[in-house]
């Protein structure tokens, strides 16, 4: 079967974890650490979580139709690669509890191009994560980060959740399309369902991956579990907006444990929404204001300068003014007679791809 590069042992392990998912959920409620559970061997898993079903599950595992699993992966339109495969992203080996198998929508080959290899010689990647209930500003920042990073051929990794995650993916799709979504459930199940269109676009231009088999519906423990994959795939994890007890902070914690860089977008000190991100900054995270800051950290300072723009002076003045923060028609207009020519200049720049309209009538500079 093409595209299925996973050994029997790894597939069996995945099968077992999927069948113990309910028991893992219960264990989580009993305050056991998910990452410790996921680091256990199959025998240990059965012993500690199997309960009364342990013997029966062991028997089923023995007699498992692994080729049947492979067929179901193929039928779901996915590919699978286990940790023994060449195409498996080597940077995931940094995790003690790394996923046995990755299921991929969008192709294993493309995954290698996006996040393959280890950190030193593989393609650059940055995880952009944050709250689901994001402010409009945070959404714009995340989208700008996604756009700028992907434009510089740095892969944008996130979790496709509402809010910041989706905005980062959307930004990535707007430029080079280099983006990887790590899902908590099966890679063929768009979650949240409202992001089905985004899911399709990411699978078309980038990759959607998951450690759980096709069709698996995510349980609560799956979300912190997938955060470790997001953290491990990126050279850096950027938290855009996170409250004090946000899931994004788990991602940042894992990244710190792995020795990856951590960045955060500063917010007002009084904003509860930004409390988590601000706390990271106090603890020494890199200050990220835009994609340029992120590129400085990941690619190196000044190795990514934009080429000089060749546009006529009248438009350049407007572009510079927008970049300086006079970013609405109102801020650029003094008398009614100015309005027409200014609006024409803004729209010309928009048609040329230098500006984009943001909510509330603001214009945003698109990094070239």
């Amino acid at each position: 079967m093409t595209g299925i590069d996973a050994c029997d042992a790894c597939l069996s392990r995945t099968w077992l974890i999927a069948h113990l998912a309910g028991a893992i959920e219960v264990a989580r409620h009993e305050k056991r650490r998910i990452r410790e559970i996921l680091a256990l061997s199959e025998e240990q898993l059965l012993a500690s979580l199997g309960g009364m079903r342990a013997a029966a599950l062991a028997g089923e595992l023995e007699a498992l139709d692994v080729d049947g699993l492979r067929t179901s992966v193929d039928e779901a339109g996915l590919e699978a690669l286990c940790r023994h495969a060449d195409t498996y992203p080597a940077r995931l080996h940094d995790l003690d509890d790394g996923p046995a198998v990755l299921f991929v929508a969008g192709g294993a080959e493309r995954l290698v191009d996006l996040v393959g290899g280890d950190l030193d010689d593989g393609p650059r990647a940055v995880a952009v994560v944050g709250t689901r209930r994001a402010s409009i500003d945070a959404l714009e920042v995340a989208r700008g980060l996604g756009r700028g990073l992907a434009a510089a051929r740095v892969t944008v990794v996130s979790g496709m959740a509402l809010g910041v995650d989706s905005a980062a993916h959307t930004g990535g799709l707007e430029s080079s399309g280099r983006t990887v979504a790590v899902l908590a459930g099966g890679a063929d199940v768009p979650y949240p369902p409202s992001k089905a269109r985004l899911h399709r676009l990411i699978a078309e231009h980038g990759c959607v991956v998951s450690e759980l088999p096709p069709g698996f519906v995510a349980m609560r423990w799956c979300f912190p579990a997938r955060n470790r994959i997001i953290a491990a795939l990126g050279h850096m994890t950027i938290v855009v907006e996170a409250a004090q007890r946000s899931g994004s902070l788990i991602t940042a914690e894992v990244a710190a444990d792995l020795g990856r860089e951590i960045g955060a977008v500063p917010g007002p000190v009084t904003a509860w929404r930004s409390a988590g991100a601000n706390a990271l900054l106090r603890d020494g995270a890199v200050v990220i204001r835009d994609a340029r800051d992120a590129l400085d950290a990941v690619v190196g300072v000044d190795r990514h300068d934009a080429p000089e723009l060749h546009i006529e002076p009248r438009l350049r003045d407007v572009l510079v003014a927008v970049a300086d923060g006079r970013d609405t028609l109102a801020a650029l207009t003094h008398t009614p007679a100015d309005a027409g020519p200014t609006l024409a200049a803004l729209t010309e720049l928009e048609l040329m791809g230098h500006l984009r309209r943001a909510p509330g009538g603001r214009y945003v500079v698109i990094p070239q």
Binding site: D137, H169, T347
Partner: protein
């Protein structure tokens, strides 16, 4: 003894001739009205009887039958009182029947015999002229309104005995003073000179006024959206006589025409957002014009657009496109004109503060808000303007513009349009249909490029493309340019809402 009197009922905006026939014959005293009459007409028995007796006439102690013909037409309202009273008096010989044949009679009676004004006088006068009658007897307060028709003799009366004197030829009523009757409310124009900052919003307002385009103002609460929108009438061109007649007719039928004579102001209607669909476009068992028709030749202002019930907004689509609305009720159809300019205001998000830090909405709230506004109605909005908080130094500064100056620009641009559109049936650029548009808006090739770009990228629908062209034509007219240049097209594109993220959420 039989007598006939002509009067009119209003069907939609159309006057329909009704003949009141009265038969008085020997029998037990009895008084009936037949002929598909509504409750107000049936109750007119008591008013007529009281009015006749209290005016010093005798009410016949016989069998009185009143028939309103044609019997198939549904008759509504109290306007038949006077005609029924006159017909009864003619049937008993108290009034000259031959005089009544030459006049139409229209009005409501009080029990004392006084005549009260009722709605629709202008339409009734038009019906009288069309029916070839010599004149119309109607309430005194409505004389100026009825004389607008011109071809007929208008006789205003204050009481039933006065009508009798007029019909007997003993009295010619004096036309009342123009300021007689209800005092018209003093019209105080709000002026754009009250506005500080907001130069770009005023420019958009001027473009909308000059071309009759639909405008949507989006911005946080308290920033001045409503204040600016309410100043729209102050820069609109004056009504032409034909337009004024149309406005007067609709308002008179709706019972809103309090002033005497011709409407002098373009209507500005601002219904509250709890309005129903039939309140907005017209309806009811006997169709009456809705706010959309009352705004005909003027402005329909919908404040808090997102709060309007969805069915009401959907109902606006046909009137916006066709300039008229057909209300079908039972066996009949009433057609009301609805050539209004839509001006709407909305907050950018449910809490109103997006995109600032004060906004407390999440992505889902924003998407829901955008969905309420999106769709076919938004496609008919030509100009979207984001109203920003003006800078502090501008708040204290000089006025940005004055209504007089902006109105002069609008009138100038309208004159250019009128000269170009003469004979096409369109009065301004916003009313050009696709054929007129193709003939009158030609683009240089370099001007067409951005439009093709936007269309190709899928930012613009075919309707959006046409609407952009109309706005571009108006921007060129305001700049006194005969050709539509690239800058005009590009500015018009800048006012379109389609660009991603302009109204709603990201992702």
């Amino acid at each position: 003894m039989l007598a006939r009197v002509t009067t009119f009922t209003i069907d939609g905006l159309e006057p329909r001739r009704v003949t009141v026939e009265v038969d008085v014959r020997a029998g037990l005293p009895h008084f009936t009205i037949v002929g598909l009459a509504d409750r107000a007409v049936r109750e007119s028995r008591e008013r007529v009887k009281g009015a006749i007796l209290n005016s010093g006439f005798d009410f016949p102690l016989k069998r009185v039958t009143v028939n309103l013909a044609p019997a198939s037409l549904r008759k509504a309202g109290p306007g038949f009182d006077l005609a029924i009273a006159c017909a009864i008096l003619a049937a008993v010989g108290a009034l000259p029947a031959d005089a009544l044949e030459r006049y139409a009679v229209f009005g409501e009676l009080g029990l004392s015999g006084e005549i009260r004004p009722c709605r629709g006088a202008l339409a009734v006068a038009e019906g009288t002229a069309r029916a070839g009658l010599a004149g119309l007897v109607l309430p005194r307060e409505r004389v100026l309104e009825a004389t607008l028709v011109g071809d007929i003799e208008v006789l205003g009366a204050a009481s039933l005995p006065q009508v009798a004197e007029i019909l007997r030829g003993n009295e010619r009523p004096e036309p009342p003073e123009p300021d007689d009757g209800v005092v018209a409310l003093p019209v105080r124009h709000l002026d754009l000179a009250d506005v500080r900052g907001h130069a770009e919003v005023i420019e958009a307002l001027t473009i909308a006024a000059a071309g009759g385009h639909n405008l949507l103002l989006s911005g946080p609460p308290g920033v001045g959206k409503t204040m600016i929108a309410r100043r729209m009438p102050s820069i609109l061109p004056p009504l032409t006589r034909a337009e004024a007649l149309e406005v007067t007719r609709v308002h008179s039928v709706a019972g809103l025409h309090y002033g005497a004579g011709l409407a002098s102001e373009r209507p500005f209607r601002a219904p509250h957002h709890l309005i129903s669909a039939s309140g907005l476009v017209g309806g009811g068992p006997v169709p009456v014009p809705g706010e959309a028709s009352l705004a005909h030749n003027g402005v329909l202002f919908l404040d808090e657009l997102a709060e309007f019930p969805r069915p009401a907004l959907e109902a606006l689509r046909q009137p916006l496109e066709d300039g008229r609305v057909a209300i079908v009720r039972g066996q009949r159809t009433a057609i009301f004109p609805t050539r209004f300019m839509l001006v709407a205001a909305t907050n950018p998000c449910p809490c109103g503060h997006a995109p600032s830090r004060r906004c407390r909405c999440n992505e889902g709230d924003l998407a829901r808000h955008a969905r309420r506004l999106s769709g076919p109605l938004l496609d008919r909005i030509d100009l979207l303007v984001h109203v920003q908080r003006p800078a502090v130094e501008r708040l204290a500064g000089e006025p940005t513009a004055s209504s007089a100056a902006e109105r002069a620009r609008v009138v100038d641009a309208r004159e250019r349009q009128a000269a170009r559109l003469d004979g096409t049936g369109a009065a301004c650029n916003g009313q050009m249909d696709a054929r007129v548009l193709r003939r009158h808006v030609r683009l240089a090739s370099e001007a067409e490029v951005p439009l093709l770009d936007a269309y190709r990228r899928g930012d613009l629908s075919a309707r959006g493309r046409d609407r952009t062209l109309r706005v571009a034509r108006t921007i060129a007219d305001l700049a006194a340019s005969d050709a539509v240049l690239r800058d005009h097209i590009v500015a018009a594109l800048g006012y379109r809402h389609e660009a991603s993220g302009a109204l709603g959420a990201v992702a």
